[in-house]
Subunit: 217 residues, 2 copies
DNA sequence: TTGTCAAGAATGAATGTTCGTTTTAAGTTT
DNA sequence: AAACTTAAAACGAACATTCATTCTTGACAA
């Protein structure tokens, strides 16, 4: 390279190389963690899966906890992006279609976690949820993201209500939370009981949408 | 000694005492595990919480794994019982009511896990899900239980369909899975975002039930 | 009732192992 | 050869589990 000044500490390898190494570690770790959880996976498991030595990995992540957090935030980001992009569609499709879009994005979407196969990702989500219960910083991050998602979905539901598509005597954010819950539950089922098509949730919502009434309360 | 019959293994303390000790260990362990997860909880944490020594605990449970499995199966049982009893109600109430019953049972129900407070139980459920991904024996148990629940709920949905309450061009078991997913997702939300009333899910379903149409497909 | 005793129940310090992390030495690139 | 990265050995801490020991219980003799 024709750089004239070389400062002490100047990187010897390109930024792309550094980024690729980081991603190589994250991908290997994600595979391990999806398989065995964070705390039953040793750093040596991660090293082997990533094909690197301890020194290498500890150059990119100061500790196992930092690695776990990086993975968890990747997962948060992927899921959150799926929820947000589906809520932004105009005009808003009916709930069954919206939830189908979310799941499509989560499982196939713009490859934040490209390296994980379709069954790996839901497993990782469950591990991240469990870890979130132990790590107040992760919990705070998740809550912040969830608030944004819930607001977007509440707005979506209010559009249904204003257009007369949905009764407006139920709080919009209760409906929003329920839709989010359906997706979360479906992800849990994918992890626990194996893969199944997105149409399961779509059909399920269509069935529910055809039930008249419900108690006024 | 002129004792005529002395059986080896003759109980020195009452069966109630043994049962109470076992429960004391399970309750302490459940509190620890709900707080910190299975693998970030040491046996010494469990011992302290239960107020017993290592030897005492290892008399009742051969290993940490055996303790984890006992806890997990308690959790499975509690959730499964809630799903089953709600599905058995005749005549079947509308979906919003049925799901409300399930949640009521899970959070307040016949105290299988009496010792855990309301926020503790959903946390424990998430930890058990995560552990289930690592333990094929737990996974098999969960799948067996889930099949029974899904069958019961499919039957319930078929009753809706036969009575004309729900369109019958969607597979009943897809609707059943969706209802179960909504409950699972709600439990996850309880653990991750804090408590909220059962009426959130009830209202949410009522809102959805009032949406007409949905694509035929 | 009271005292005795064998066996079950409980203890907690000790054990060997495994973990995350650091250090050190060899290698690679420019 | 300088600048920097990687590999591998090594370390202390923490872990699950064991075991020699002490305490407790309840049947039975008197």
């Amino acid at each position: 390279m024709n750089v004239r000044f070389k400062f002490a500490g100047m990187a010897r390898v390109s930024q792309e190389h550094l980024d690729a190494r980081r991603r190589q570690i994250l991908d290997g770790a994600a595979r391990c963690f999806a398989r065995n959880g964070f705390h039953a996976t040793s750093m040596q498991d991660v090293l082997k899966e990533a094909g690197l030595s301890a020194g290498a990995v500890y150059r990119y992540f100061r500790s196992k906890e930092e690695l776990i957090r990086a993975i968890a935030e990747d997962v948060f980001g992927t899921v959150r992006a799926a929820f947000e992009s589906a809520a932004r569609e105009t005009p808003p499709p009916l709930p069954d279609v919206v939830l189908g879009r979310v799941l499509g994005q989560v499982f196939l979407g713009p490859q934040a976690m490209a390296d994980l196969d379709r069954e790996g990702f839901p497993r990782l989500v469950l591990q991240v949820w469990a870890e979130t219960l132990r790590d107040e910083e992760l919990a705070a991050t998740l809550r912040r993201g969830y608030e944004v998602v819930r607001d977007a979905w509440t707005t979506l539901v209010q559009q249904y209500q204003r257009s007369g598509l949905m009764r407006d005597d139920v709080p919009a954010d209760h409906v929003a939370r329920t839709l989010v819950a359906a997706v979360q539950g479906f992800i849990a089922q994918q992890a626990l009981f194996g893969e199944s098509g997105i149409e399961v949730l779509e059909d399920g919502l269509r069935g529910l949408m055809s039930v008249p009434g419900g108690n006024i309360g």
